[in-house]
């Protein structure tokens, strides 16, 4: 059997509509994700960002098309790596990081003692994602940033064709976030995998993203991060907390004279 070839996967979304009950959540989404590309999806709360991920995962009904292809031929069975926004587990859930990651690297029952070989594999994987020190912790007790790295490590084993990341609203500290984006960037290059990242943080993701999509039911803007982030009217819809974010990201934006009283409100 030929070895699985990574990085040749392309995802094409055409005319995607999603309704939840009577509410139209996504409308006419057209999007193409190429291999090795990191695409960041931004937008206000309730804009349909997570729903877009759920549609790609096949968990919500939709009309329109979502097609995956590997090396130009259409495929149904692509491998999707998924990092959820949060886990709905209790703080005291007795599943350690070792348990969780071992289920990705081996099919040995997790309720038996894990062999040294499995532990070594887990350790190597965790080291690659800068979380080897967390191996004995319970996954329910990890901080937002720690959990994201552990979930990413597990999502990359075995290597996926498409990586979907749903980022928590405010559970990660700035330092953890920068580290997380660096790791995502690394795996994207290493595995040549296409990455779709839903994020609430514009400043840190901008330098890493190849493309940015502003989603609010429809795709209102897409392009290079500096182009999307320089559309101040669009950014205003995200609310006061991001009014100055473009400058934080290092992209100079000319704040017009007449807007200065807005800025004072921040």
């Amino acid at each position: 059997m030929p070895e699985h070839v990574y990085g040749a996967c392309c995802t094409e979304i055409a005319g995607l509509d999603v309704s939840l009950g009577r509410i139209r959540v996504l409308e006419n989404i057209n999007l193409r994700l190429n291999c090795g590309e990191l695409v960041a999806v931004i937008g206000p709360n309730g804009a349909g960002k997570t729903t877009l991920l759920k549609a790609i995962l096949g968990e919500v009904a939709y009309s329109g098309q979502i097609r995956f292809s590997i090396r130009g031929s259409l495929r149904q069975d692509i491998r999707i790596g998924y990092v959820p926004q949060k886990l709905s587990i209790d703080y005291d859930t007795p599943v350690s990081v070792l348990d969780f990651v071992s289920m990705a690297v081996s099919s040995k029952p997790v309720w038996l003692r894990l062999s040294g070989g499995v532990k070594d594999k887990v350790h190597a994987l965790l080291t690659e994602f800068s979380c080897q020190h967390l191996v004995k912790r319970k996954i329910g007790a990890l901080s937002g940033g720690e959990l994201q790295r552990v979930l990413l490590a597990a999502a990359m084993t075995p290597a996926p064709d498409l990586l979907l990341l749903d980022e928590p609203v405010s559970a990660i500290d700035a330092k953890g976030l920068a580290l997380f984006y660096e790791l995502v960037c690394d795996v994207r290059r290493k595995y040549d995998v296409s990455v779709l990242l839903v994020t609430h943080d514009l400043a840190d993701v901008a330098p890493h993203a190849d493309r940015m999509i502003f989603l609010k039911k429809k795709i209102l803007a897409q392009g290079k991060p500096q182009d999307v982030l320089s559309d101040r009217d669009l950014l205003m819809t995200l609310g006061p907390s991001v009014w100055n974010i473009s400058e934080l990201a290092g992209f100079k934006i000319a704040v017009k004279e007449k807007d200065t009283h807005d800025a004072d409100l921040v």
Binding site: G81, I89, P94, S107, V110, W111, K138, A155
Partner: protein, 269 residues
């Protein structure tokens, strides 16, 4: 040889306790982690309707009617949960009310409910060799199931979407677990009792959870606590002249209390 071991009914009960305890501990780990405690309680109470249907249809041993009804109910609840937007709690509450009411209405018509009240508290001393054989085979089935399905079940309890990306058929996995749970509950109900069966699923697991950091400790701890409290509860009930099921539950509760106390004082919670 201690006096209790001289009686055949006590020896059989002892073997039954050794079979039931690990069964309940294993299934309990997923019942608690997957928040199915109310679900398993509904299955336990559904045996009222199962017994009633068994009587109506003229089954010699209501055990099989109870088992068939519990399995059908488990599958039905899973379908309803997947098809409705109401919370699982509400769906289960509706089923709980119906299975209890239907059972009591049918059983009370045929000359009084009191004939069947033994099912409420159970009688492990009434276990016979055939019943032990059924329990033994069930333990074998669950052990095999656990070997192949445990990892998928754990992933499912952590995040269902994540489990699906790992090619786990979440709906069918949950349904298969519910069916296994329904069988175990149905087969044990006569021995343990409708009012008590859920405590045996939950208490040893809850106690093990307090001190476990990894899943192997959790499973192992739950099985040990379950076996020790079942055996000691059974033996003490003989000397005290009390109902075995409830005595076993008190031992598990004591385990939980002591472990919770220790872990609060040593700040290991």
């Amino acid at each position: 040889m201690p006096t209790w071991f001289e009686y055949e009914f006590m020896r059989n009960a002892f073997v039954a306790a050794l079979l039931i305890a690990p069964l309940f501990a294993l299934l309990g780990t997923v019942v608690v982690s997957n928040r199915m405690v109310f679900f398993s309680d509904v299955l336990g109470h559904s045996s009222l309707t199962g017994i009633a249907l068994g009587c109506l249809l003229g089954f010699a041993d209501p055990l099989w009617a109870v088992a068939i009804f519990a399995v059908i109910l488990a599958v039905l609840i899973n379908f309803c949960k997947a098809r409705t937007r109401a919370s699982a709690d509400t769906v289960l509450g509706v089923f709980f009310a119906v299975v209890v009411a239907v059972g009591i209405v049918i059983l009370s018509k045929a000359g009084g409910f009191s004939k069947y009240s033994g099912y409420l508290i159970g009688d492990i001393l009434a276990v016979n060799k055939g019943h032990l054989l059924v329990l033994g085979s069930l333990l074998g089935v669950v052990a095999v199931y656990w070997f192949f399905a445990a990892n998928a079940l754990v992933l499912m309890t952590i995040d269902q979407s994540l489990a699906r990306t790992r090619r786990i058929p979440v709906f069918w996995l949950e349904t298969s677990f519910s069916v296994v749970l329904a069988l175990v509950v149905a087969v044990s109900i006569k021995l343990v009792g409708i009012l008590i069966i859920n405590s045996l699923l939950v208490l040893p697991v809850a106690a093990a959870r307090l001190v476990s950091r990894k899943f192997s400790d959790y499973t192992c701890g739950a099985v040990i606590i379950s076996v020790v409290s079942s055996v000691s509860g059974l033996i003490c009930s003989y000397y005290w002249g009390t109902a075995s099921g409830a005595t076993i539950v008190l031992f598990s509760a004591a385990f939980y209390g002591v472990i919770a106390g220790i872990s609060i004082f040593s700040k290991r919670v």
